[in-house]
Every structure is written in C-alpha cells, then in structure tokens.
Amino acid sequence: MNLGFLNTSKIDQSKFIAVVLLNLGALSWFFIINFYLADIFNILVPPRPPDPSWAVTIGNSLIYGFTIFWSVTVSFIGGKINRRQLLLASTILGIFSTILLAFAEGPLFAAIVASLIGTSLGLGLPASMALVADNTVVENRGRASGILILATFIIAFTCMAICRTLGFDTSFDLSVMVLILVGVRSISLFPLVLGKFDRSLKTVEKKIRLSATAYREFIFYLIPWFIFTIASSLAYSLISAANLAEGVYVGDTLKYVFIAVFGLVAGFMADRYGRKQPIILGLAIFGVGYLLLGFGIGELAVNIYSALSGVTWGLFFVIFLAVPGDLSTPILREKFYALGYILPVTALFALSAIQVENIGDILPPETIAQILGICLFLAMYPVFRAKETLTQGKIRERKMKEYVEKLGKAIQETEKNE
C-alpha cells in the first residue's frame, strides 16, 4: 500500500501504521464476533423452545449495551485516564474474554463473557478512533480512514472465508473460532507493546471550546447516519422474515467485498471532492436498493440490495470516521467518535439482532421499504445544509499541488526533447 500521501502533510508513517493496527484489531474482531454471534451463543446456551433465540438476543444486547455504555462513559471521563493503559486494558480484556468463550457454559457465564466483550470494545474504541484523527490532517484523513476500513474488512473477510472453508456453516467449531478471534484481537497489542504512540491529552492541546456551529454541523451529519442505521436494521428484519438465508449468500459476500473496496474509494473521494458527496451518493445508492426491496423481497432483490448496501456501508464507515475528526478538537474527539460513530453502528447491530417481530403484520414489507426509501432520499437534506469539512481552499490547494507535479513532468519532457 502506497502511503506516500501521508508525507505531503508530514505525517509519521510508522505512527499511522500503528494506529491502523490498533483499530483494525478491535474492529475486525468486532465484525467477526457480530457475524458468528448466533453460532457462538447457541453453543454457550443451547436453544430452548418456545424461544430458541433468547440467549442470542440477550448476548447481543449485553455486548452492544456495554459497548455503548463504556464508550460514552470513557469519552466523558477520559481526560483523567492514561490512554495507553486504557487501550492496553481494553485489548487484554478483549483477548481474555475471547479465551473465556472456550470455557463458558450456561446463561450466567455467557452473560458475563458478553459483558466483558462489550466492555473491551467500549473502553478502547473511542481513543483508538480519536488516534486516527490525531495522526492525520483534513487533507488525508479520508484516505487514511479508507485504508483502515479496507484493512479491517480484508482481515474480517479472510477470517470468515477461512471459517467457511473449515465448514463452519454446517458444524461450528468454537475452539477454532476462539483461536482466530484471539489472533485478530492480538493485532492491537503490537503497537501498544512497541510503544509507537501515546494519546496523552496533556500534550495534545489545552482545552479549546468548540463553537456551537461545530456541534450543529455535526448534528447535520449525524441525521442521515442515524436514518441509514434505522433503515438498515429494518431491512435486516424484513429480509430475515422472508427466510431467504441460503439464497442470499452471493449478495452477503459481495456486501463485505464492497464495504472494503468502496471504503477505499470513499477515502479518495472524501479527500478529493469533500465529505458530503460520498454521503449523498451512499444515501442515493442505498435508497435505490431499498426501493428495489419495495417491489418484492425475492432472492434477486435481496442480493442486489445487499451488494448496494455494501457500497453504502463502505462509504459511510469511512466518511463517518473522518467527519468527527474534522469537526472536533483533540480534547473532544473521543466524545464525537463515541456519539457519532460507535453509538449508531452499535445501535444498528443491536436493532438488527433484536429484530422487529412480525413487522410485516403492521404494514406490508414492500410498503415499509418504499417509505424508508423515501426517508433515505429526504435524509440528504441535512447533508446539503451541513458545512463541507474539507474546505474549498484545501481542495484548491490540492489541485495546485497536482498541477505543479503535472507541469513539472510536462516541462521536463519538453526540455529532454529539445
């Protein structure tokens, strides 16, 4: 991966790699757990009628609940805690809780492990994400976030592919799963042990008050993110209710590939054209996918929807990793990431996991899909109102730098020919 773009703004490449490793260890671990959560909990607490999925629902709620609770709490009291120790504690707790999965049995033990997993995520994610912003500048934050999301999903997707190859779809092997998860979570240990950075807020800056405008702009950006979250979780419920699990494998696979690829694309778009265009594009693409579901929830529609949602997820994961960093000062970054990134993403997974029971009885699924499709298009309005965080001046500066390169080459060639 060419990280040369970081040099243009004097960003330390080794620090950046450390931050990517720290984040991808936590995020890929989270995505893999999320993907196999039902399988894991069905082993820890064997399904019992009349509600065979009760343990999975409770396990989900505990993981996501604790993630939200600790991320918000830590972001508010974070100033008093040593970040390095916090990140180390979060990573070790993640490894420890994963190992416990191999020994957990029964509802109580499962609940404790789920709470520890959530605590590990909540403790570490705000500071880890804030480090992405601390180690980048507005001109390259999009690309840096894109690389992070690409790397995260490559790791997550590779692990999922390994699991599929090992036949986890038919016979889930918890001990192998634990080994994979421990390996992934341990990635975060490298930068912490090697001591590549420390997010000491004392050295970052003295307290600077953010203007009310920055908070308002942040809310403009958050509205579409939340609407997307709700629409996405409802889509998950609608699709689950249609029982197409086996037939939508292609779409599901494409979804992960597209998240990784379009995450990187979003990063380049964000640094070239600004943060707003990828959000609008993402909403439009997702809206189209949703409208397609509105015509009938069949295999083809669901596969296309999944692929399109992957594009939007890729765009959104990256843009919403960059925007809180653009709008916040270092001292407030963890709050912005806790409320603007971790909360919506975790809430989405929690909502998807809980699933709205009998949603189809309230309104026909097609009608719900069409209404939400329109809501997604309307969600573009706040984005149009929001201030572009990559200013015209920065875009112009970048164009000039590119022009100088182009000109330098052109003149060099002409002079050689003479």
């Binding site: 730098k401 022009y403 100088v404 390169e405 330098g408 052109a410 003149i411």
Partner: protein
Amino acid sequence: MPFGKTIAFHSYKGGTGKTTLIANLAALYALKGINVCLLDFDLYAPSLSMYFRKKPTTYLNALLRGELDQPNGKVDASSLITDLSPELGLKGKFLLGFSSQNKEDIGEIEFQHDQKWQLKAIKRFQSLKKQLFQEHEIDYLLLDTSPGIRYWSINALAMANMLFLIMKTSDMDIEGTKKMANDIYDVLVRYGKSKYFIILNKVLDISNSNGLWGDLTELTWSGELQKDIGTEVVGSVPCCCDIQFSKHEFLYAVKNPEHTFSRKVLELSERIRGL
C-alpha cells in the same frame, strides 16, 4: 540548457518589492553589457508597463492566447518585445515584454483554469524563450511573477532555471514562504529545476532597530532562516525609505550607484551570476 539562464522572482505575498528589485537588477546587467530580457509574468496584477511608463500594442496575454502563433511553429514576437537600451543608454540589450492591465485580459487569466489551455500557453512561451535566446542572443531572461500560489506564478516558476523567493522578514512572510517551499519549490526542484534561493528585501537596519530584534544579528537571523526553510539566503537588501516612499522609483540602482540600495543590488547581481 544550451542558452542563457531564465530567472524567476517570486514571493509569498505582494508588496515584497519584487518588481523594483528585478527591474533594477535587469538594468544593472544591461548597464554592464549583458543582454537581458525582462517579462512581466505578474499577469494578475501587471505593473511593469506602469513602472517603465510604456503603452505597448501587444502584450504577453496575446502570446499565451495563441494570437502570435506562426505556421512554422514559432511565435511573432516583433511587436511584443521592446528594447529600451538605446533610450536608457545601456550597453547590453534591455528587452521588455509587458502584460495587459485590461480588466478583461486579467479576468481571462484569473478564470482560465483549464489545464490543457495552460499547458498550450506554456508551450507558446517556451517557443518565445527559444527565440529570445537564439535570435536576440539574450544572456538572462528575467520573469517577474505573481505572488502566492496561482496558476501563472507556478507556470512562470516551472519555466525558469533559477528560482528566487523574495521575502520580507515578517513572521507571516516566513511561514508562507516555508509552506510554498514545501508545496511548490521542492516539487519543481525534483523535476530538474536548480535549487531555489532566498533574497531578503526591505530588511530593517538591525543596528538601529530599538531592540526589536533582541540579540540577533542579520547574519545569525539569515542562518536561522536558511535552516528553517532549507535553502540559501543569497542576498539581503535594506529597507530604504527614500526608495520605498518615492512617488515613482525608476531604476534607482542605475541612476544612484553610490546609494546603499544600489550597492546591495549590485552585490546581489554579482552573486546571482556566480550561482
């Protein structure tokens, strides 16, 4: 390059005294019998025609637009270039090319951001440059550029062999110059331009600064600056109120050779020749 040198004078901000310095430098070279051509590449705010009080019929803008193109690939520079040496009594050629102060012409340059157009215009300039060196036997081609980072300041810098950054000693100028050095100059040097240099202009007399400069001497200050920006300071021209506030400064270094300003510009001209 088989010919003479193309030298561009540039600055981060306006008001650094680029035009005064480059006009005096060019005239001093011509006085010594060196053939020079001075072109006004400050296309956004041209000032050389006012400085020399000339109203030419053809401007550099016409060259860039392609109006002077000839079928053989050359450009017709006869109406564009004026030789002032007979009028000023200079030994060498003192060719001048002006750019238009007309609002429409400036507007066209200001809003013409099409890069293909820019590259075509540069080729036309390269053709003129070749003619100036080959047919007019020019030793030095001096380009007075627009301040800051704009298309035509970058274009002019890219067409030169030697780049000089004119700066005053204010913090704002230093910071801006540092940024420009990183963003523009380093890239151009990478593509084969010779190293760029700094010329300090309108420098306050440190010995008479009422403690504003603390314990610094001009030498240590220049050293710090060289370290900070990463290139050599090749000249330092003092701030002279009689020149700064004169109604129309005109080739002061030629007319008053004993003046401090003139001596410093002469020193600078020799230093540049030695680079």
